[in-house]
Amino acid sequence: MNSSSANIVNLEEFRATRAADSPADAPQGVVREIADIPSERRGRGVDFTRFYPLGEIQASRIAEPIKLLHESVERIEQAIESRRENDPVGSDDYIQQVMALLPELFVWGQSMGDGFSAVVLATFHCLRNAAGALSERQLLELRNGLKKLSIAPYIDFEAALDIQEAYEGVGLEPDAKEVIELSEFIEQGEGIR
């Protein structure tokens, strides 16, 4: 006959730092606003301020940059809409409004993190370096970049580089013109040598 043995794992030692998993663990009174969240409502698409105890109110330091981000996304969406209606001038007007919002957003980068600053700066340079009107695909990519930032503004630098790559993928130039010229100059120099 086979014999079997099992290790007994003592769970008690980490109960102190582990919170109650369910109401059955201890409570004597339960107040529920919503008993269960449907699975489709969970996920990473949720406005992140909903997870913050103070939410998107003035007392919270995250309120202002998020407001600016939402405004920028809205302007790009209006630019896309104008472009679809064959109104390139209207579309450009909205993009100029986004250009005006980005420097202020960049200032917030100091408190939001390197990833945030990198995406804002890349978006700014994409618009500044654009030679002529942006295509719908390029506008959509810019909107996606800022939307990702509004959902998860504390992204790390690696994730910001992914967004920059996506910009480059549709023909945008997310680096400063001076940097591009400098790198071209260095490449030419190496060629001469």
């Binding site: 730092t17 109401p23 201890a26 009174g29 990473r44 992140f48 105890p53 992204i155 790390d156 994730a159």
Partner: protein, 234 residues
């Protein structure tokens, strides 16, 4: 009674996530980084599924395959003692674990008020109006409520809070392990306490890039202190 009469004794941040198998590759890098910041960190557990260090008797940091936590405790804790450990977990350890989402972010604060007698503690507990004081014979027993407790759980769509108010008698004992040593005597200390414990947590998946630990903890602490009157009676 209000929150100002209590001392903040303990703060815990717990992050839960889907299995982070990177722990098996990155544990060394994480803890090397941690011991550079806090050289006095002492290894307590290091097994494949969990690693845990302590810093004196003040702080405990643990990184497990499915959760990470920071636990700071003292006679009077302040957020500045706690937040640097949380930032280390969120900004250094989590990227190395390559985690995308948190399934739960929990912040537990424990406030304690000490008493000379158990009766005083029980009277203050009942003065909150959370439960009624039972007098006379009850369940065939002539006695009185000795260590009452009540827990209220409030849940919204994305946030929840489980608050517990209880009276407890806590005894600590320091043993002297050396037989025949007269230099030290065993010490026993008894604490009669009213404990206000608040566990604030997120519900649903939260992307890693959505959490700024210092901001979230400050917000949670603000709300816990602001709304404590609901439990303590103001």
């Amino acid at each position: 009674m209000n929150i100002a009469q209590f001392s903040l004794k303990s703060l815990i941040l717990e992050l839960r996530y889907p299995h982070a198998f990177r722990l098996w590759d990155s544990a060394g890098a994480i803890w090397t980084n941690a011991t550079r910041r806090w050289p006095a960190l002492t290894l307590r557990d290091a097994v494949p599924n969990q690693t845990r260090f302590t810093l004196g008797n003040k702080a405990e940091i643990g990184i497990h395959i499915d959760r990470a936590f920071v636990n700071v405790g003292a006679s009077r804790v302040i957020l500045d003692d706690f937040v640097p450990f949380c930032l280390f977990i969120v900004e250094t350890a989590i990227p190395l674990l390559e985690i995308d989402t948190f399934t739960r972010v929990g912040f537990k604060s424990t406030f304690v008020k000490e008493y000379k007698t158990m009766d005083d503690a029980v009277n203050d507990f009942h003065s909150t109006g959370m439960t009624k004081q039972i007098g006379g014979k009850c369940f065939g027993i002539e006695g009185k409520s000795d260590s009452p407790s009540v827990t209220i759980r409030v849940e919204g769509e994305y946030l929840g809070c489980a608050t517990t108010l209880l009276v407890r008698r806590r005894t600590t004992r320091l043993d002297v392990q050396v037989i025949g040593d007269d230099d030290f005597e065993p010490v026993t200390k008894e604490h009669l306490e009213l404990v206000y414990d608040c566990d604030y947590f997120t519900k649903g998946e939260m992307a890693v890039g959505q959490l700024k630990a210092s901001q979230w903890i400050e917000d949670a602490m603000h709300v816990i202190r602001r709304d404590s009157n609901v439990i303590l009676g103001g």
